[in-house]
Symmetry: none
DNA sequence: GTGGTCTAGACCACA
DNA sequence: GTGGTCTAGACCACT
């Protein structure tokens, strides 16, 4: 009836923000973060708090801090093989399915609204991300462009609640499956093609359908990972 | 790119929990809350923190604390006339529209999934809430039953993310519009009828359509409030 | 610079109020207090708190509680001989002198203002108290009339701050010196005569002088008690 | 006959102490208070209680709390124009007159006793406060020196009851009338001159007369404020 | 090293 | 047995 609250320390929130920025490709392995002072300012917290967060992320192997004038905080490489992740996916399968249903609801709605409301600027952003995805070879870069594409749709839908729900859900689904990602590049690109075209053509239903198809194919990928162990 | 974090104090979380419990009708005006000591235990915080939250809610006029063995913290009456709320609705109109689009996405999806997955127990819960809505005269009780109905659908959909999104959105839309609510009782009831029937019949598309229709009529009500001032 | 605070429990305040009422003769030995319920109402506290206070006063020997229909809380007799109090007066002599200087300041000012502002009603109250003092034999009754007289002057001065200061100071000086009191009856009466006449004649300076003389004679009485042990 | 008691929470006592310290100029706008932990120790209460008091004072606009090593609780600036305070003075006029009569009684008595009992150390304190008053330009500093001067007289009188009565009365009269204060600087200084000289000369009657004259001129100032609105 | 928050436990005043 | 207050101690976030 009334559930437990769990107070979250400021530095945990910062950890979350940074981790999410890495997951959605804002920063890819090898990238350097802005200086702590700047980060602190942007996040609206003190530098101590940022440092605390970075220490945690270092512990998790997400980032690496280097001292000196040429130093800074850089994102680490941490690709994982499909093999190592299969048990984890298996365990989370129920949750991942729920997440996909949740994304279906929100990303289809966003695609529909984006098709209605998109400006030419929105379209340019989406097209750029789409181009980027077809050009890049590196998984991390692909993921960044992928995020930019899907969040660009949410932005074009002009709805901050859908935007946040989509961002949350994508972040929650994230897994460092570099090898897998490569296999699905081409499939993803064909879906993205259809989605982009529908939005360009201002066709809400086609956009929603393309989004749904895309997400269902992601679901198939997950089942394939799980199944491939048998 | 990287957004501000806003650290949330434990007592703020408690304020939110309690406020939400009032908004969704878990406690209606005149109801007494569990004793502070019990609340603290349930919420997993100390009594001081609960009291801090109650003090805030007292300041906002949500609750009133009475001492003594027969005392306790009770929910205040704070009905507002449509007149007083028109400017506030007007100001929030953009946000409310976004919220409705967000609810459309999630509540239609929930209705669809509920129609597929509902058990007989789910149906019993929905039917009970539906009956309650048609029986009660008091606005607060109606609101409670309304919440029970819609969250019951989310529960039947077996998806915690949809559930949370729906709860959040409903809570964010809440306004103490008692008079308005009364006017829309009958309309709401007819929509709920259709929704319940679709779920009973395990018809996903009909359920989604009924949910959509219901939310669009809520949107019309909001515009009516704003427009009635001319 | 910033001094300690000492929080006072409600029941301590009640103890103080009741003790003061006994000291200034509102209730004299043998008198019965109002029922607890009434006391609680008048004091603005709950009955439990009144009971707590009475328990303390019982412990101090001020009152005695008797059960049953004819029962109630009655003020105890607790006369003390001069002998027993001499050491206590000696110890408090510095404080008592300060109190007398404080009373001089405030009672003279009150006498002066009373002479200017007194109404015929004020005069009647003072005259009644004055008569009472000359008639009574019992120490307790004399003290009651004495209090009525002096506080009546403070009331006639129409100044709540002087009133409170006088009441506080008189209460702080109180000692259960029944034998002493008898010895000074006649002296006190002659001073009171002069004070009453000056106020009746609306002569501020004479009133202040009479008040001063009265208090200085009280000071002499104290030194006599202390000295009489040599 | 028996008056209501009003139980005072510890934090209310602390609020009072701090507010009084501000009123009598112990801390002037811009000053920083001792750290909460020290305050708590000095006041003999827990830090929670001190914080509760500070929260109240923050709400009243008396103080402002800043975090960080260079932070602390500082006294706010809150000067008020004569205009804004006229109605308030008007409303309190009766009470203020009573307070002035009360101060007359006690401050004249204190001046008289101070003239008799002052040591050279007392004189040095008074002279220092007197010098300070003639030197400072800032209202707040003047008020602080003024308080030091008058309470210094009470201290020289060696009477804790007069001391407390004077401090209470001065605190109760306090108003944030900065502009007014400036206008009366010179008048006050001339009165203080005479008062200081009488105490230095050990002339009780002259001291009392100077104190009386000073207070009567304050009364005139109040009437001037009230009258100036016509 | 400051203010901000939280905890666990206690006692008090109230009905 | 309720809310109201207080304590002693702790950790966190800020500057």
């Amino acid at each position: 009836m009334i559930e437990r609250v769990e107070p979250t320390a400021a530095y945990e929130l910062v950890v979350d923000r940074i981790r999410r920025a890495i997951h959605n490709g804002t920063y890819v392995p090898g990238d350097k973060f802005p200086p702590e002072r700047i980060l602190a300012q942007n996040l609206g917290v003190s530098r101590t708090t940022v440092r605390e967060a970075i220490r945690v992320l270092e512990g998790e192997g997400y980032v690496e801090a280097r001292r000196g004038a040429t130093g800074g905080v850089i994102v680490s490489y941490q690709g994982q093989t499909e093999e190592r992740w299969r048990p984890i996916v298996q365990e989370r399968l129920g949750e991942l399915n729920e997440l996909l249903d949740f994304r279906l609801a929100n990303e289809c709605a966003a695609a529909r609204l984006a098709a209605e409301r998109r400006t030419d600027e929105d379209l340019a952003v989406l097209a750029a991300a789409h181009d980027e995805m077809q050009r890049v070879l590196e998984t991390a870069r692909f993921r960044a462009a992928d995020s930019a594409f899907h969040l660009g749709i949410a932005d074009a839908a002009r709805n901050r609640f859908l935007r946040k729900a989509i961002e949350d859900a994508r972040s929650a689904m994230w897994m460092p499956l570099d090898p897998l990602a490569e296999q699905v590049f081409s499939t993803a690109n064909s879906h993205h093609d259809r989605l982009l075209e529908a939005i360009r053509a201002r066709d809400p239903e086609a956009a929603a359908a393309a989004a749904a198809e895309h997400l269902e194919s992601v679901r198939q990928d997950l089942y394939r990972i799980v199944g491939s162990g048998d």
